[in-house]
Amino acid sequence: MSSADIYRELILEYYRNPRNFGKLDRFDIEAHDTNPLCGDEVSMQIRVGAGNTIEEIRFSGKGCAISQASASMLTELAKGKPLGWVKGLSKEDIFKLLGTSDLGPSRIKCALLGMKVLKTGVYGYLGAHFEDSDADPTR
């Protein structure tokens, strides 16, 4: 897959006009992470609604098109879902959102940063333990 394919309209569109970008006034969950190897940053805030659902979700951050677009796409997908749904999220889901899995190992970390932040936040809220290996492309 060529880079022209990776950076198709959709990703560029989300990069330049990210959905759910910003902060919430009231929120129950907040998480932040950076990719130490490339410096990308993503924060997420979630307001939990009735029945432990993701009532509202916002992200902010800076970084490459892949990290920011995938975080933005993920917030759209997550909105309205029960918190427990987050546990089932896998990297394949992210690849589906992005429309590609053909990323080098370092770019995969960019793609999965949003998911890592979302899981960290939700698992912390649920009192569960986040297993790093899920977001580790070397495994």
Binding site: S3, A4, I6, L12, C38, A65, G104, R107
Partner: protein
């Protein structure tokens, strides 16, 4: 300069086997030498020779292999020291620049720095010339202050002078910035710092590989550099230190080779530089570094420097014409080292690097281990193209074409 005196790039390239490799079906255009340089076959051959004909531990050995290995290791020390104008007794082999600054932190800093002391570094440093001083300041209750930068990305010398009035214990400064390319007048900085009573450490990671360096003229107390950026193997580098100072310092790591005598309750130390080389040293790679020094000496460091200035001038002219192109650091190519950091419109450097990689072009993207500088530049990251002896105008042209393609994809 006569044209016959210039570097013969084609001849140089023939010494680097990796350059014949294809990346994603394209010719490899390697523009990431500031991260690590490629290695000529002469360096690799020095490793192969060592391992296949005289591999042995050094210094404590009476047998032939051991004496050959010791002689080759010490000869590499001698050649590397002379290469930067030092004496071999003043050159400690370390893993690289980072281990060198940390050695100074532990062996000099833990001994001589006290509560309330001031340590000075600059905003353009690599993390390896910042974090050790943060850790030292924390452990000793000392203060760490930064010399800021001018608009052009040179040191704010007025700020330096005002910090020197506070009698700092240490001034840590890079010879050449790995992001801005700025070449600092370290001779002047060291002489001013010395007058103020400060010890000085100069980070030579981006200078020793690219220009003639003479530590005696610079007049610093410590000078650090990495072998892997100067055509040498990974895992080896050097700390050069003034002998009297090295002798006064505590040892760094403890173990074999650095001791003179070990008793149950205490030990005494070997002579410098061995006092700082605990355990089995990186014999093969030190010898490989010696071969890299020979190779560079053979080319001539002034020629290497001239070549890179010419390349930089061409690159700045060529790339500045691109829409949305913005570069950082001094505008005069003859005052910079061979690194060019830039951004192209709103394309994130990682995305840029991915697109260029598809064209066989290797650049670096990110914070370049200089986060404080990134914040000062007010960017999250930059792209960086960096040169060495094997780069040519063709490589610059390829980069330009790659950037044009990226501009199209991102609809810049």
């Amino acid at each position: 300069m006569l044209e016959t005196e210039a570097l013969d790039v084609e001849q140089v390239r023939a010494d680097f086997p990796i350059l014949t490799r294809k990346v994603r079906g394209k010719r490899l255009v390697y523009l990431d030498s500031a991260a690590t340089s490629q290695k000529p076959k002469q360096v690799v051959q020095a490793l192969v020779d060592y391992y296949s004909t005289y591999n042995s531990n050094v210094h404590r050995s009476v047998h032939t292999l051991g004496e050959e290995a010791t002689a080759a290791y010490e000869a590499a020390r001698e050649r590397t020291a002379r290469f930067v104008g030092a004496s071999p007794k003043e050159l400690v082999f370390v893993r690289g620049t980072t281990e060198a600054t940390n050695l100074v932190r532990f062996a000099w800093g833990e001994r001589f720095v006290e509560k309330g002391d001031l340590l000075v570094t600059t905003l353009m440093e690599h993390h390896s010339n910042i974090v050790p001083w943060q850790l030292l300041a924390r452990s000793k209750g000392a203060r760490l202050e930064y010399v800021g930068l001018t608009e052009e990305g040179t040191l704010d010398l007025a700020k330096l002078e005002s910090l020197l009035k506070e009698s700092p214990k240490l001034v840590a400064v890079t010879h050449c910035s790995n992001v801005l390319g700025t070449i600092n007048d370290v001779e002047k900085v060291c002489s001013r710092a010395k007058s103020a009573g400060a010890a000085t450490i100069v980070d030579g990671a981006q200078s020793v590989p690219h220009m003639p360096v003479d530590v005696a003229r610079i007049g610093c107390d410590f000078y650090a550099f990495s072998g892997h950026k100067m055509l040498g193997p990974t895992g080896i580098g050097a700390l050069v230190g003034r002998k009297e100072l090295l002798e006064k310092m505590d040892p760094f790591q403890g173990g074999g080779e650095m001791i003179k005598e070990v008793f149950l309750d205490h030990s005494t130390w070997n002579e410098v530089p061995h006092k700082f080389e605990a355990g089995t040293v990186n014999i093969a790679d030190a010898i490989g570094l010696g071969a890299a020094v020979d190779y560079l000496t053979g080319l001539g460091m002034s020629k290497v420097r001239d070549h890179e200035v010419k390349l930089m001038r061409y690159a700045m002219e060529t790339l500045n014409a691109l829409k949305g192109f913005r570069s950082y650091g001094p505008s005069d190519p003859s005052t910079r080292g061979g690194v060019l950091s830039f951004n192209l419109a709103d394309i994130h450097p990682h995305d840029l690097a991915t697109i260029l990689d598809e064209e066989g072009i290797a650049i670096r993207s990110g914070h370049h281990c200089a986060q404080p500088l990134m914040r000062w530049l007010d960017v999250a990251a930059t792209s960086r193209a960096s040169f060495h002896v094997y780069n040519s105008y063709d490589d610059v042209d390829s980069l330009k074409a790659g950037l044009e393609k990226a501009g199209e994809i991102f609809k810049v």
